[in-house]
């Protein structure tokens, strides 16, 4: 084992390297490109035996990834944002093939307007695709979870592709100290891919992804995939236990931070949760009973774990780094559907949308969110959903608009 200061992207590449990925179909996109360039360099240096092929689009990249996994090699790939959406048809398709492989998504906001910076609308668009989703908050987690994701994807009870999500810039380009496990230890944890009998070989004909006629066979196979995705919860827990035993680091579907005696709980996912932890620590110093529940696995959704973690809490503040137009925060919808009708559910679940397009979430905003939730739990009234956006930001936007007006030689509206 070595300890190095590396970026989230490098941690992702290390995950693929230690997993001994055989194949990398690739297509560049900011902020993901460092991952494929790192693997390309390692392949060139001969320290990683991975065949890389540059594809002409993410749609083709995901097709090639699924086809290669279905042929029986261990596949890694990576994308982001527009690329993920360009490949969307194939996300659903290769998940239906039950082709197990791991793909990193480096989260980035979606056009329009076009941006390079992070939020979760890209990855959440893939929510229902059949890919399992694991969301990371640290560089260490990116590496560890990539290894765990292969075990999960390739497990006979699951056999589904997995997306490991890391936030663009905040994680992809941030260096953190990362324990890089030794190859032998990883090999013992993650054996070689056993593709099973359904692969393409001469003398062993297989038809994959054939058409079905009618709703009955279609429903059957779709539901079978849904059951496999559900089964991934228990499988992932067992993989997590094995990982902890071998490497001493715990990764599960949910992370609880100072939740046990908390009355108000922040609920969110991704790297901003590390800021939430700091806010929790500071508020705890002042005696405010807050905690953090971080959703690490979005699909399958850990409903029971979530219910149990929130039993008896007074309020949950959902912080969504995404925005569903005409509805609101997507995690808010997810959590309320899991809690509604549950006897011990917290009476207050509030919705905050922030961090869109890389917009920071400040410590003070976490304080304010906690205060709003405390008031709500006292009055019993749930406040309307709120966008985290300051007067200063609005003033800055007004300035930009003023410039735009001047440039168009229009009268500036006072």
């Amino acid at each position: 084992m070595t300890r190095e200061l590396i970026t989230g992207n490098a941690a992702a590449a290390w995950g693929a390297r230690l997993a001994r990925a055989d194949y990398l179909p690739a297509f560049p996109i900011t902020p993901q490109t460092e991952i494929i360039e790192t693997i390309a360099r390692w392949s060139g240096e001969g320290v990683m035996d991975c065949r890389m092929v540059m594809m002409e689009s993410e749609h083709s990249m995901i097709t090639a990834a699924g086809a290669a996994a279905a042929t029986g090699v261990r596949v890694y790939t990576a994308t982001s944002s527009q690329g993920l959406l360009y490949g969307m048809e194939m996300l659903y398709t290769v998940a239906g093939w039950r082709a197990p492989f791991v793909m990193a998504n480096v989260s980035r906001g979606l056009a329009a307007p076009i941006t390079l910076e992070s939020d979760h609308n890209d990855i959440l668009a893939a929510r229902d695709s059949g890919f399992l989703q694991i969301h990371c908050a640290t560089c260490q987690e990116v590496l560890d979870v990539t290894l765990m994701a292969y075990r999960l994807a390739e497990d006979r009870r699951v056999r589904l592709p997995v997306i490991v999500n890391l936030d663009g810039f905040y994680l992809s380009f941030t260096r953190e100290p990362v324990n890089i496990p030794g190859q032998d230890a990883v090999d013992a944890f993650l054996p070689a891919f056993d593709p099973g009998p359904a692969t393409f070989r001469a003398g062993h004909p297989v038809s994959q992804a054939v058409a079905v006629l009618g709703g009955a066979p279609y429903s059957y196979f779709r539901y079978e995939t849904a059951l496999a995705a559900q089964a991934a919860l228990d499988v992932y827990a067992a993989i997590g236990a094995d990982f902890f035993a071998r490497f001493g680091r715990r990764h599960g579907a949910l992370e609880r931070y100072r939740c046990e005696d908390a009355e108000i709980v922040f609920f969110m996912m991704g790297s901003f949760s590390t800021k939430a932890k700091e806010a929790v620590d500071r508020m705890r110093e002042d005696g405010v009973p807050v905690g953090l529940l971080r959703l690490c696995m979005l699909r399958p959704f850990p409903t029971e774990l979530l219910r149990s973690a929130l039993t008896g809490k007074r309020a949950v503040a959902v912080i969504d780094q995404n925005l569903s137009m005409g509805k609101g925060g997507i995690l808010h919808t997810e959590i309320t559907s899991a809690l509604y009708g549950y006897r011990n559910a917290p009476p207050i679940v509030t919705s905050f949308v922030g961090g869109l397009g890389g917009r920071d979430i400040s410590i003070e905003e976490f304080f304010e969110i906690a205060a709003i939730n405390r008031r709500a739990s006292e009055t019993g009234e749930i406040p309307p959903p709120r966008l985290l956006y300051t007067d200063t930001e609005l003033r800055e936007i007004r300035k930009l608009q003023a410039i735009a007006h001047v440039e168009r030689q229009e009268e500036i509206v006072p």
Binding site: D22, Y23, P25, D49, R51, V53, M54, M55, E56, S57, H59, S60, M61, T63, A64, A65, G66, A67, A68, A69, A70, T71, G72, V73, V75, E89, M90, T93, F200, R201, A202, G203, H204, P205, V206, S207, Q208, A209, V210, A211, V212, L213, P217
Partner: protein, 310 residues
């Protein structure tokens, strides 16, 4: 083996590998081509299918193939072929399969995918020198959805999306020329109605490595508007009138494998098809017919001059 395997009609297989009873239409020229191609390539193949008519060849739990099949999507069958080919190469290189377990990777695509939504993936596969055979059944429209205009629809043909019923104003995209411009290992035009020519080209393609394209004109009774029993006749007329030149490209050179002589008037081919009926009824559309004939004449003029001179 080489192309010498098929010298005469009697050299062609008398039984077919591809199973019968598929959901294809009666008289499907695409199925004829696929059947003949499969006889030459054999069962050690994996067909990577792009969405189109042939998607319905394999419907759970049946398949007419004795080898393997992977259905991808409309736009990315060549990328699926890339993944399968690369994986097989990796497995061989790492000793996880034997050379005998290797497969020929074949993309199966209609013209709508080949010349439109899938052209980018196809072009990129050629760029990368992918070792695969690309089989396009060209029925000159989006056949599976009821013959809407595709990039391969010929000039003057009626399609389901031709609101003015005046015939396609554009000209058929030259997919063969696009492939040849990218210097593949091999490219050929074929037609099911000329099985010996097809078999010889497939045998040649089979013996090569790299990107290889087989472009099969696929007479389509449902989409072109004729009785299924005329499929073979229409296929032969496509060749005899010169509207479908049979040719092959290899080693930087394009050679015509058939020089129709005497070349029949193109209207002999057109008038059998409902999609061109408006050129003859209620009155002959002489300017349009001349346009089509002129285009065919212009194609053959240099070749016929060379032949006459030689």
């Amino acid at each position: 083996m080489t192309e010498a395997r098929f010298q005469r009609m009697k050299d062609l297989p008398s039984t077919h590998l591809l199973g019968a009873g598929t959901a294809m239409c009666a008289g499907c020229g695409g199925l004829a081509a696929v059947t003949e191609v499969y006889d030459v390539l054999g069962e050690n193949t994996v067909f990577v299918n792009a969405a189109g008519c042939m998607t319905l060849l394999s419907v759970y739990p049946f398949t007419p193939f004795r080898g393997s099949w992977l259905y991808t999507a409309m736009a990315s069958a060549p990328a699926g072929a890339q993944g399968v080919r690369d994986a097989l190469d990796i497995l061989r290189a790492k000793g996880r399969i034997t050379p005998e377990e290797d497969l020929q990777v074949v993309v199966l695509s209609g013209d709508g995918a080949a010349g439109g939504i899938g052209l980018s993936a196809t072009s990129a596969a050629i760029d990368r020198g992918l070792d695969f055979i690309y089989l396009c059944y060209d029925n000159e429209g989006y056949g599976n959805t009821g013959q809407q205009t595709s990039s391969a629809t010929p000039h003057g043909a009626l399609t389901a999306t031709d609101a003015l019923r005046s015939g396609f104003a554009g000209w058929k995209k030259d997919l063969f020329a696009i492939w040849v411009a990218n210097k593949p290992a091999y490219a050929a035009t074929v037609i099911g109605g000329e099985p010996l020519d097809l078999a010889r080209k497939l045998e040649k393609a089979r013996s090569m490595d790299g990107p290889r394209m087989i472009l099969a004109l696929a007479p389509c009774p449902a989409g072109w508007g004729y009785d299924p029993e005329h499929s073979v006749e229409i296929a032969r007329l496509a060749v005899k009138t010169g509207i479908w030149p049979l040719k092959e490209y290899a080693d930087g050179e394009t050679v015509h494998t058939r020089l129709p002589h005497p070349r029949q008037p193109v209207e002999n081919y057109l008038k059998l098809q409902g999609r061109f009926a408006h050129l003859f009824e209620p009155a002959r559309d002489e300017p349009r017919l001349k346009e089509i004939q002129d285009a065919v004449d212009a194609y053959w003029a240099p070749l016929e001059a060379e032949h006459a001179g030689g």
